[in-house]
């Protein structure tokens, strides 16, 4: 114990670490009414770290070559000790991370935390959701299975609906006319280098915005109808008399992380192939399209929208308009009130939107 104390004192003299702990941990106050939904950000940070670590471990044995990729994944799953665990944690983790992102977004949405002055948090968070879906899409191709190959063929093909440059864009994304070895090289580079760096940078920006504005308090029925935040000067939400982040809210974070891990390991151990179809276990064959190729569950709504509209360009435009609306929501919904039950129009629109997303996903799955 004395040795630890001496080491702490040594660091303290040089870096003033107790001041940092006081400012960022024990002295960082959060609203007393804070709830567990607020810990989803920490869960996502944990999930992203887990994806990075398991991804680095997979890189040790994975071979990004069209002739060897499927075999290398088979070796990881069947021959390398605990390779199945690392790979399943990565594959199932990506799905759970998207699901948690949705939950995080919904909690921010219903608590009105996207409103002024947190517009930048919302925009950066929504961009992160899309980037995580992008990194999931690019990772989908890497096992070079029938599912990977044909799901990527369908996904990249929809880019072709963009007028004038669509055909060129498809070829650019694929690195050729069809999905093939050049596509694998591109997707691999984007999946393991480009997107993780961009996501990490944007997470940093997201946290910076959070630190500068201060965390929002959960809305209550008794909130004043108008905000006290008037004028154009900078203001930090202090929450005087609140609970400290450490240890109080840190324990909430750890509870939520434990629940996340329980879900992850529950799927990995008890239903490992929940997110895999039989086509995932067959090597890619560019001359044999399997029947009923479907994208991952979080792309099913987009997939179904493209099928509903007679023209692909209309489907893409509708999706683009929807995405733009959600991204710019804080600039559209500028009212002061945050308590959901006092915002009937908002509740109808958002619950309707979520119901439509679920219905389209189910329709896409069954069609």
């Amino acid at each position: 114990m004395t040795l630890v104390r001496k080491l702490y004192d040594w660091v303290e003299v040089r870096l003033g670490i107790s001041e940092v702990i006081e400012k960022e941990m024990t002295g960082y106050l959060l609203p007393r009414t804070i709830n567990n939904w607020y810990s989803l950000g920490s869960v996502l940070l944990f999930a992203f770290t887990l994806q990075v670590i398991s991804g680095i471990l997979l890189l040790i044995y994975y071979v990004p070559d069209a002739d060897k990729a499927f075999k290398s994944v088979s070796v990881i799953m069947n021959e390398i000790p605990f390779g199945w665990l690392i790979r399943l944690c990565h594959a199932v983790g990506s799905n759970l991370m998207v699901a948690t992102l949705f939950l995080h977004m919904f909690s921010v949405l219903f608590m009105g935390s996207y409103k002024k002055p947190r517009e930048l948090q919302w925009v950066s968070g929504f961009t992160l959701l899309n980037l995580v879906m992008g990194i999931s899409l690019t990772g989908y191709l890497l096992p070079w299975s029938q599912l990977s190959f044909w799901a990527t063929t369908v996904a990249t093909n929809s880019v072709g609906a963009i007028p004038v440059i669509g055909e060129y864009l498809v070829e650019f994304v694929r690195g050729g006319k069809l999905v093939g070895p050049p596509t694998l090289g591109r997707f691999f580079a984007v999946h393991v280098a480009v997107l993780p760096l961009v996501i990490a940078g944007l997470i940093g920006a997201h946290l910076f915005f959070l630190k500068r504005t201060g965390i929002s308090a959960p809305p209550t029925r008794n909130d004043p109808a108008t905000t006290t935040r008037q004028g154009s000067s900078y203001h930090y939400d202090k929450h005087e008399g609140g609970i400290p982040f450490f240890p109080n809210f840190f324990l909430h974070d750890m509870t939520s992380v434990s629940i996340y891990m329980a879900c992850l390991l529950g799927v990995v151990f008890f239903s490992p192939y929940l997110f895999f179809t039989p086509d995932s276990f067959v090597p890619a064959n560019p001359f044999q399209t399997p029947a009923h190729i479907k994208p991952e569950w979080y792309f099913l709504a987009n997939y179904q929208i493209l099928k509903i509209f007679p023209s692909e360009i209309i489907g893409l435009t509708v999706q683009g308009a929807g995405m733009t609306f959600i991204a710019l929501l804080p600039f559209v919904d500028r009212g002061d009130g945050r308590y959901p039950l006092k915002r009937p129009l908002f509740m109808v629109c958002s619950l309707g939107g979520i119901a439509m997303f679920i219905a389209l996903s189910i329709w896409g799955h069954l069609s």
Partner: protein
């Protein structure tokens, strides 16, 4: 006092859970990263005698390491580890001189593996080799 005891108990529990969790994570990760076991290390290697030229040497893999067989001037065959005993480089056979040279730091070994010059501290490791019916068996 009671407060201190409770605190110590809780800290011990947390430390125990943390240690078990760390072990549960470390064991699969270390197993995953550990070098994979190769084929049966006790197996011997056979090489047809005709593949070994007169006054020549043939390099091959033996138990995961580089090894070499040499036909000496008297026609007998010697098998040696090809790993230099200085810093682990692979020695090269100089047919004209009838000796091994290590290109890294100029170590010299005779066809029997003895140190002739340079920094190597000890001879090349001898391997058991037998010749029967036109086949050289090492190990």
């Amino acid at each position: 006092m009671e407060q201190d005891g409770r605190r110590l108990f809780l800290m011990t529990c947390i430390g125990g859970v943390a240690a078990v969790t760390a072990g549960a994570v470390a064991y699969p990760v270390i197993s995953y990263l550990a070098p994979r076991k190769g084929k049966d290390n006790s197996a011997s290697v056979t090489i047809p005698e005709k593949e070994l030229p007169p006054d020549g040497a043939k390099f091959f893999q033996y138990h995961g390491k580089a090894a070499v067989i040499v036909r000496k001037k008297d026609g007998s065959v010697t098998a040696l580890s090809a790993v230099c005993t200085h810093l682990g480089c692979i020695v090269q056979w100089e047919a004209k001189k009838g000796e091994f040279i290590c290109p890294c730091h100029g170590g010299q070994f005779s066809a029997e593996g003895k140190v002739l010059g340079g920094p190597p501290p000890k001879p090349l490791e001898q391997l058991k080799a037998t010749v029967a019916n036109g086949v050289i068996t090492i190990g």
